[in-house]
């Protein structure tokens, strides 16, 4: 069948079972839009800013496990999407970006809306490529999906010059496996290392399981739960790993790291065998690596990306492979090496001592709403089963701390890049992927302004999101650092001249509700969720002085936490 390059683009997306594509049109992609118009298999979602397209596609992927797809025009369309691409890159999300480029003959001529797309996105994509011949379109798009989803996932960009989308070539669907000479992510874990790991697991006296985004990305939550059930070891999750192990289990110590629990951080510091699974020893997780290395422990590190291993912390047993497979091997090996879980009474006693600090307690007030309280009320109203997206700041930390997740892919946030503006478009992507589900976006009055235009997209597609704006009139996270480290000089962290979010939401055709008193909180949230088919923007005025605790200050060690009770 001979068809145009543009039609090949759309047919290839159909062939790859793409259900949604998030995009924004422009000159360089007009032929592609023409083909999108002529079919109805791939649904196009028109965003209001290309950053929103990338975030929505990214969150579509985070919530489903399938790659997200976005389509942008050349030049400004692409540069607008860069923040979204970099966000996906830092959190290893399989995102496929198709960008239009000026016609081949105009490349390098400073043509209208020309940008060096491949150059600009080189360091924030797993791979990117400029299509040079119409015959290459289908194979390069298939290859993009392959690269995005295999090994350590990540965004892949395919840049297509406009003239090529108008040329004609033969097209036939092709489901044969993709073979690339230079790209073969390690598949099978080394048996010897598995054996060494089992030996350490068997002899551990103070074991600790520390898991991250890799468990979510690798769909290994069920296998992890099995492993934890068999060993009865304590478990902690990174911010990206929440939901990878059910938070309602007794073995769960909560999140670790900068704003992690006292018990998780102490257990991390003082364990004798640490199993790091799909987690990358981030600076917000272990703090100062020298302080971390002061305590002697054996570290087993399972990750698909060899460069994640021994990057910040020297590792004793590296296991390179897919987590699901590695956990399966460990689970079957354990039957022989550790048929009965060891009681580890001493260790649990120590952990329970740390737990007794109740580091997540906070003081409620009668006149002012505490942000933690809002998240607890949200949890109660949604019975802990909602998809929760978040922006970046204090509200993000409170959402992570006070909304326990029992399932993977429910907690959707930007951890690595920490991109304000992520929450709302992310919630759109999630809601489109799960039309019947409850989707809440926890945000702050500063973050929400960064992609507020997407309220218009929500109207167009009738997305009944519930936006929980923890409005503290401050860039709270910035203010907190200024309070702690910059002598209370709140330079530019106060949000002056905020909009009236209630009428703002109404002007977009949504429902806006303001809640100011603790006594109205539960009823207000209930009322919002009762409006099943409407987007409700809850503008909740919260305590402007509240800080996130516990806190390991940047550059400090895990056992040097500041707790709320210390103050």
């Amino acid at each position: 069948m001979n068809i145009t390059g543009a039609e090949i683009v759309v047919r290839t997306l159909q062939e790859l079972n793409v259900s949604h594509i998030f995009g924004y049109p422009g000159g360089a992609v007009l032929f592609i839009y023409d083909e999108i118009f002529k079919q109805n298999k791939v649904k196009h979602i028109l965003v209001r800013h290309e950053q929103g397209a990338a975030h929505a596609a990214d969150a579509y992927s985070r919530s489903t496990g399938s790659p997200g797809v976005c389509l942008v025009t050349s030049g400004p369309g692409l540069t607008n999407a860069v923040t979204g691409i970099a966000t996906a890159y830092m959190d290893s999300i399989p995102l496929v970006v198709i960008s239009g480029q000026v016609p081949s003959h105009a490349i390098g001529q400073d043509a209208f809306q020309e940008a060096d797309t491949v150059g600009i996105t080189r360091s924030c994509t797993k791979y990117n490529v400029l299509v040079q011949r119409v015959e290459d379109i289908a194979p390069l798009i298939r290859q993009a999906f392959h690269i995005a989803q295999t090994g350590r996932p990540g965004p892949v960009l395919v840049d297509i010059p406009k003239d090529i989308t108008a040329q004609i070539a033969a097209y036939a669907p092709d489901k044969s496996p993709i073979v690339m000479r230079s790209y073969n992510p390690v598949a099978k874990a080394n048996k010897q290392q598995i054996k060494r790991a089992l030996q350490l697991i068997k002899n551990a006296k103070r074991p600790m399981i520390y898991t991250g985004g890799g468990v979510i990305l690798g769909n290994a939550a069920a296998e992890l739960t099995k492993f934890a059930d068999k060993t009865k070891f304590p478990v902690t999750n990174t911010l990206m790993g929440l939901g990878g192990y059910p938070a309602n289990k007794k073995q769960f110590l909560g999140m670790l790291g900068m704003h992690g629990t006292y018990e998780a951080n102490m257990a991390m510091q003082y364990c004798d065998v640490l199993l790091a699974i799909g987690a990358r020893f981030d600076d917000r997780v272990i703090g100062d690596p020298t302080h971390f290395a002061r305590e002697k422990r054996q570290i087993i590190h399972a990750d698909i990306d060899p460069s994640s291993i021994s990057k910040r912390v020297a590792v004793d047993v590296p296991i390179v492979g897919y987590i699901d497979d590695i956990l399966k091997e460990l689970n079957s090996g354990i039957a022989a090496s550790l048929p009965e879980p060891k009681p580890l009474a001493e260790w649990w006693k120590q952990i329970d001592g740390w737990r007794a600090k109740k580091c997540m307690n906070y003081k409620k007030a009668t006149r002012i709403i505490k942000p933690q309280q809002v998240i607890e009320a949200l949890h109660e109203e949604t019975r802990g089963d909602a998809f929760v997206t978040s922006d970046v700041g204090q509200h993000q930390m409170w959402a992570a701390q006070y909304y326990p997740f029992n399932k993977p892919r429910r907690w959707i946030n930007s951890g690595g890049l920490g991109t304000m503006g992520f929450g709302l478009p992310a919630a759109m992507g999630v809601q489109l992927a799960h039309p019947k589900a409850q989707v809440a976006c926890v945000t702050g009055e500063a973050s929400i302004m960064m992609c507020i235009q997407e309220l218009s997209t929500c109207k167009q597609y009738r997305l009944p999101l519930k936006i929980i704006n923890l409005n503290n009139r401050y860039m709270g996270m910035v203010r907190q650092w200024q309070e702690f480290f910059h002598g209370n000089r709140y330079a530019e962290s106060y949000m002056d001249a905020l909009p009236d979010f209630v009428t703002l939401a109404e002007s977009f055709g949504h429902v806006g509700i303001r809640i100011e008193h603790p006594k109205d909180l539960k009823a207000g949230i209930k009322h919002a969720f009762a409006q099943k088919d409407k987007l409700v923007f809850l503008d909740i005025l919260t305590d402007p002085t509240e800080n996130v605790y516990p806190m390991v200050a940047a550059g400090k060690g895990l056992s040097e936490m500041v707790l709320a009770e210390d103050l």
Partner: protein
């Protein structure tokens, strides 16, 4: 420690910039970098000379390996290997110094490839040490301009 990484990479547009970009983005230093096609025209060999301790070099190697178009990376300083670099030097060669330079050229087994009444251009190959010694021997005052290719190398292994 000085390390020589030998990288086989798909001969595709932009391959060089991917590697160079990775080094600058991750703050690894590059002393020199050479690239040219190999016996297999679909692959290029890139030789990168860098400095780092074991941990850094291990990270660099892993990161380079992660590039989709990289076929193979080896740290040839880990193996028995040969290393060569080509340098051409333009020197002042007037008066009595002219003979002395000619003698140095012979001692270092270099060649004079261009002659004017006042200058020579000398071509010399060898490892980094040899080229550096030649520069020292010539002395700063004689040297007008230098162009070096950067090192390339191969292991001595049978394959």
């Amino acid at each position: 420690m000085r390390r020589i990484l030998s990288i086989l990479i798909e001969n595709q547009p932009g391959a060089l910039s991917r590697v160079a970009n990775l080094f600058s983005a991750r703050g690894y230093n590059i002393e020199s970098l050479t690239v040219a096609p190999t016996e297999d025209s679909t692959l290029s060999r890139m030789t990168v000379v860098t400095h780092g301790n074991d941990a850094t070099t291990e990270q660099i190697t892993k990161q380079v390996n992660k590039l989709i178009e990289v076929y193979k990376v080896i740290d040839i300083t880990e193996e028995k290997h040969v290393e060569r670099e080509l340098m051409i030097v333009k020197v002042r060669a007037a008066g009595e110094g002219r003979e002395e330079i000619k003698r140095l050229v012979d001692i270092f087994r270099a060649v004079i490839i261009n002659v004017t009444p006042k200058t020579y251009i000398i071509q010399i190959t060898g490892n980094q040490q040899k080229l550096n010694s030649f520069i020292t021997a010539l002395g700063n005052s004689a040297i007008l301009e230098i162009a070096r290719t950067g090192a390339c190398g191969l292991t001595r292994l049978d394959k």
